[in-house]
């Protein structure tokens, strides 16, 4: 087990040693005993957790609430429904062959739906990347809407269940070169896409999705360059989102966007719907 793996596991360990006996934490806790850096990090985490817990316990509960709840227990229960069943309830009675036939049909339909929606089993990032590249290159409607700036794009995305905020390299600052956006569906989850013409001619699409969708999400704040379906891509995780940028040309534009100079401290910009953008820590 690496230190980073141990950190991920230990984040779920409650303060006060209550989870010390849980085998899930045994290996990570053992590592913390021999790794002084991990031990210091864990002690800091537990202090923070204890402070947040203590703070949450201070939240005042309205004085009248308990009395109102207890009054519910004293009120008369609702009358039971009539034993005379309506015709449709007879139809759906479990002794009815029609009900069994319908239940079987539902199970078959659900199975087919799951089969077609998740051909590759659980969501993994490589599969996501391949499908997004495919969408960027081949889909007839490349964008759902044309947008003149980031605020307009975020307003549209927000209204269509897409992302409300994104953190992007400063080279994509203020939506310069932004031509449009789109919301795609990935295993029932929404993925936002922003389409750019960087420097007026370099076509780059940026996909943004919830990082919690992927057990194998890219490492935090470490851009990874790769080719997917023959296209140059770069992907990374920042805060709670994964980002995948796809170049329709070579990878030079992606390297330029993500170069250390371009992403140095204060050169990543967070765009929030209906708020002014702010600089955030570097990748």
């Amino acid at each position: 087990m690496t230190r980073d793996e141990a950190k991920l596991i230990l984040q779920s360990c409650r303060p006060g040693g209550r989870d010390a006996g849980d085998p899930q934490f045994a290996e990570a806790l053992a590592l913390a005993k021999t790794d002084s850096e991990l031990a210091a990090w864990f002690a800091g985490q537990q202090r923070f957790d204890a402070n947040v817990s203590a703070g949450l316990q201070q939240v005042r509960v309205p004085a009248r609430l308990k009395a109102e709840i207890l009054a519910l227990g004293k009120s008369e229960p609702s009358p039971e429904p009539s034993p005379i069943l309506a015709w449709w309830r007879h139809l759906f009675s479990w002794s009815s062959p029609v009900a069994w036939a319908m239940a079987t049909a539902v199970v078959v339909l659900l199975s087919l739906t799951i089969f077609w929606k998740k051909p590759g089993g659980a969501a993994n990032f490589a599969d996501f990347s391949a499908q997004m590249v495919n969408a960027a290159v081949h889909d007839k409607n490349h964008v759902d809407v044309h947008a003149a700036g980031m605020k307009q794009a975020l307003a549209w995305l927000t209204a269509h269940h897409g992302e409300k905020d994104v953190v992007l390299p400063v080279a994509l600052n203020q939506g310069q070169g932004l031509t449009g956006c789109r919301v795609l569906d990935w295993h029932g989850q929404k993925v936002s896409m922003l389409c750019y013409m960087v420097n007026g001619s370099k076509h780059v699409d940026v996909f943004v999705a919830d990082a919690a969708l992927f057990p194998d999400a890219p490492p935090l704040d470490q851009p990874q360059f790769a080719r997917s379906n023959g296209k140059a891509t770069v992907y990374w995780t920042h805060a709670d989102k994964v980002y995948l940028a796809v170049s329709h040309g070579d990878d030079a534009v992606l390297k330029q966007l993500m170069s250390p100079a371009a992403t140095a401290d204060g050169m990543m910009v967070k765009f929030v719907w209906n708020k002014s953008p702010v600089a955030v820590s570097n990748l």
Partner: protein, 166 residues
């Protein structure tokens, strides 16, 4: 259900349930309604629960389902006029604090997080819930709980730090 049993269950659970509801609903009135609705369900259907050790889990799961049900009926995306100001305000992130936090600050920071992280974090910080119980209450896999707790804590630290800085 007899009144004594009902009262005992209310005494034991209504405060953590309210704090959980407040973290989800972000309004005292809505949180109170959620808790009352949960206990109403308990008063009318709790008798069907055979394993009495599952009362806490049943109540929290029911409250969470009530919340999700109400959310489906809300307009999640209120229309707000789009500002044309594209100005760049710079505000660097700062490290998380390591000091005592008051209840209002914690709740306010928690309420600013996305719902995905708010629910598992609130349950985690209500202390009585292990990651396994959180998975059961939210009806999601254990691995998902662990990753959401890890990312959620990062975001919570960040939010608290930003608030302290401002």
């Amino acid at each position: 259900m007899d009144e004594t049993s009902f009262e005992n269950i209310v005494n034991t659970h209504y405060e953590p349930l309210y704090r959980f509801a407040l973290s989800l609903a972000r309004s005292e009135a809505d949180a109170g309604d959620l808790v009352q609705q949960t206990f109403y369900r308990w008063a009318t259907k709790g008798g069907q629960l055979r394993d009495r050790s599952k009362v806490k889990s049943w109540l929290f799961t029911t409250l969470h389902r009530e919340f999700l049900g109400q959310r489906r009926h809300e307009d999640k995306f209120p229309k707000v006029e789009i500002s044309t100001d594209e100005g760049l305000e710079l505000a660097a992130e700062s490290p998380a604090p390591d000091k005592q936090l008051d209840g209002a600050s914690v709740m306010s920071a928690l309420q600013r997080l996305d719902e995905t992280y708010r629910a598992p974090l609130a349950l985690f910080y209500l202390e009585d819930h292990s990651y396994r119980e959180i998975a059961e209450i939210l009806e999601i896999p254990i691995g998902t709980v662990m990753s959401r707790l890890a990312r959620g804590k990062q975001l919570l630290r960040q939010t608290i730090s930003e608030k302290e800085t401002s």
